[in-house]
């Protein structure tokens, strides 16, 4: 070969290398190339950023170092992936998770065997790591809404079926009570217990039916201080819980369905009271943001929420120590969404939690 074609081949190779380097830098996915011993031959910045590292500190290390920083079972999962790749030539959609302070990150991996040109290239795997955290959250939200819709319908018909026998128990207990007016205290207290438990069951049924009836909000303009005042009143919080609420009348107005928003406030406040074991302080402020959105912020002095839980608490059936079915916050999110707003939680374990309700600007309605 003459010099000229060598030079152009070199140029071509250089361009190709630059192209691939650019590709590695710009792709939103992590890219790792590992050899048969799982040593990292090539890696991009994105993969390294999952572990808050620069790629220079990741290249030429062993993948196991990083797999061990992922959630439990990741090492075994990778081993299975490697087996699949050696057997079939590829392996797609393997999910790894990493728990960080901000929450859990979900990574979906596609891997394939690099074409083997020589014995040195044996067992080289190139893997593509895609961050699908957002997608997972969205899927969870959709699933939650669907579960809630089904639950709602079911709740409505079950509640009805239960009311009839409850009514019979109730009236018979009342009749017994009348007939046994002369009986001893122990007997009378048994009957009172029946009557009381029937009432509690009815309350539970009522909240199930409220859940099933979540309709489009019937919005009217309300003074924020009335909304907050009503919420505090309805929460029936014990005296040992101190409220700091600086809102005054005529300061701020918002367009909401008061009944539905009361449910949201009631849930948040009762969770807060629980989180602080019935004593502490709850701060409530409301203000208008620059873009016109109206915010109500509720902070408590309870034990806070862990990073892992912060996203989960809005999912159906998630309950830690909350009495009832644990679906309160899911309903709150549904109500806020129906209002065109949002609800978010910010918390650090041990430092209380803040719930932020955001309503769209009232001006957009008119």
């Amino acid at each position: 070969m003459d010099k000229i074609s060598n030079v152009s081949e070199l140029e071509s190779t250089r361009r190709t290398v630059k192209f691939f380097e650019g590709l590695l830098r710009s792709t939103p996915n992590g890219v790792v190339v590992t050899d048969a011993s799982q040593n990292i031959v090539l890696v991009n910045g994105r993969f390294s950023s999952f572990f808050r590292q620069h790629w220079r500190d990741v290249i030429e290390t062993n993948l196991f170092v990083w797999l061990q920083q992922l959630d439990n079972g990741s090492v075994d999962l990778w081993a299975k992936l490697v087996d699949s790749v050696y057997r079939d030539g590829y392996c797609y959609d393997v999910n790894f998770n990493i728990t960080l302070t901000k929450g859990v990150r979900h990574l979906s991996v596609n891997a394939s065997l690099v074409a083997q040109e020589s014995t040195e290239d044996q067992g080289i795997i190139i893997s593509n790591w895609r961050d699908i955290t957002k997608q997972v959250h969205m899927e969870e939200q959709i699933a939650a809404s669907e579960r809630l819709a089904v639950l709602g319908k079911l709740a409505g018909s079950i509640a009805h079926e239960i009311r009839n026998p409850l009514a019979t128990i109730d009236i018979s207990a009342l009749n017994l009570k009348r007939k046994l007016e002369g009986a001893d205290e122990k007997t009378k207290s048994q009957i009172n217990r029946i009557i009381k438990q029937v009432k509690e069951t009815v309350d539970t049924i009522q909240s199930l039916q409220d859940l099933s009836k979540l309709e489009a909000p019937n919005k009217r303009r309300w003074d924020i201080s009335d909304i907050i005042g009503n919420g505090i009143g309805l929460s029936k919080s014990p005296q040992s819980v101190h409220f700091i609420n600086s809102m005054t009348k005529n300061e701020l107005f918002v367009d909401v369905d008061e009944k539905q928003i009361s449910i949201v406030l009631r849930n948040i406040l009762s969770n807060a009271v629980h989180a602080m074991d019935n004593q502490g302080t709850i701060w409530i402020v409301a203000y208008k943001e620059e873009d016109g959105n109206i915010v109500i912020s509720i902070r408590d002095s309870g034990h806070g929420i862990t990073a892992e839980d912060v996203n989960k608490i809005f999912q159906s059936f998630y309950g830690t120590k909350v009495k009832g079915f644990g679906y309160g916050l899911t309903i709150c999110r549904m109500i806020m969404e129906k209002h065109g707003g949002t609800i978010d939680a910010v918390s650090e374990e041990g430092k209380g939690a803040t719930f932020i309700l955001r309503f769209p600007s009232a001006d957009t309605e008119h």
């Binding site: 009311r163 409850l166 009514a167 019979t168 018979s172 009749n175």
Partner: protein
Amino acid sequence: MKTNRRILVVDDNIDYCEGIIDFLEMEGFDAIGVHDGFKALETIKKEEFDMVLMDVRMPGMDGVETFQKLKEVSPETPTILMTAFAVESRLREALRNGVFGTFQKPVDNERLICSIKKSFSEGAVVLIADDDKELCSNLLDTFAEKGYRGVVVRDRETAIRAASEKKFDIIILDMKLKDADGLETYQKIIDFRPDVQVVIITDNKQETESLFDQDSKNDICALLEKPLDIDNLLEVMQNALEDRN
């Protein structure tokens, strides 16, 4: 010897039916039970009753439909619907059609008896929705002298519930009821009790007048300003009752 009031209980749930009958008998009423709408109509045609307690969801003909047919046979007999199945629209329809009251099962039995007794009342039945204790107490005394049966409620939820459980001849509604929007409460009640006479009382007549549109203004019986002129109120109420008859 005074004959007891007779109540017909209509419910396909036999156990519940018997329980309610026992309860009513202990309260001094005579009660018999039937288990479907057709039997109910048959019975009403043959015998006199002072009140009908009817379940809504029954096989064959439901309570709302049975009530419609009952009205044709015996229009003066008040009917109270009891239901486990709380479909608001159906109940609202029934109330607008003249049902005396609706209760959700399990029924609050004390309030049920109160409704039953109010239905037998010779004098007008009046709902007073106001959180001023002294005023309410005065009104109750004054009404008692006139033979009116008064019921006092202090908040919006109880007012709406009372209005759905009993048929009132007159409702006296305070615009500034605790934590409530007076206009909205009025509209909610009028929706399922279109025939009730409403007297609105307010601290500020001008302010309240501006809230009501012309149609509503024509519908309400009177708009009175506090402090109330009791004689004026009584006159307004008497006129309203006479007009209605």
